[in-house]
Amino acid sequence: MTLDLEAERALVERLRRRDEAAFNLFVRAYQARVFSLVQRMLGNRAEAEDLAQEVFITVFRSIDSFRGDARLGTWLYRVAINHCKNRIKYLDRRVTRGHDALDEEGGKALTEGGPVMSRPDRPDEAMQGAELNKVIERALGLLEEEHRALVVLRDLEGLSYEEIMTITGLPEGTVKSRLHRARAALREAIERGLGYKLPEQ
């Protein structure tokens, strides 16, 4: 569900009045995008559920600080990304059971350079659907949060450079160079996870 500019302005006005019906409408309109972003950033559904709720609560509390320079959705992404970065730092400091489970499943192998999956006879066989998605998700989880955010925003959420600049507050050149480094790092992590170089075709 995407709101046009007029509808969005009206919604923001109602949100500023703390109109509960408007807030319900707002959550319904954006919950899929927020949850998808948070889930991809955190790679953990339970954490994502909790954090997605916190994102909307932050919006409810701080809608007065929304100046309207960007679209509401872009501002919401910014709030969500900041929440994600803080949560990732928090989770990194605290060794959670989820991280232990990931290590047992193969995260350790990824960080130590060993293959997560058994090497297939034909590398392209491993490049199929769900298996590849798992490797990519694990590899994403190994990126620094700044790099992860850029890959998620650009390559998974499909945002433009301009939107990413607004969300991250970074200048265009920095977004481009960091995105390049992030993609290179992701490729390396995927290849470590697969145990071989990504096939060309």
Partner: protein, 149 residues
Amino acid sequence: MLTDDEVRDLFSAYHDRELSPERSEAVRAALDANPSLKGEYSAFCRMLDSLSAMAAAAESPLAGVAASDAPKEAIPPDLLSGVQRRLQKRSGGRFYGDMWSRLAGILPLELIATLVLIALVLAYAAMTMVSARPAPAPTGATPSVTAPR
């Protein structure tokens, strides 16, 4: 002529068509001249294609048909009610303190209105049928007819 490492540094911008026409042409020429580098670029593109496919699969309306196949990104059904509960608790009951605002959050207002309307129509129909039905004749009794004298 660009070096291989310079071309590698431009993979991302080249893929996203963010290079000037001259720079883009230089990268294309370098890739054409070096099959190994071209292979690296193809692998790079393939990784980005996989990311796009992953994003598209999660957004596919067919993806969530079976619970086991549901995408990870399927929205939790209680996300809104969870937000409402937290807001109610943290605001000390100032927001979402009444049942109706929370119910309206869980069920769309249109659905609630439709359900209420259906209930009213059914109630009205039931009342009309009861009042229009003729009174049943007592069982086993024959109407007594008295002959006029």
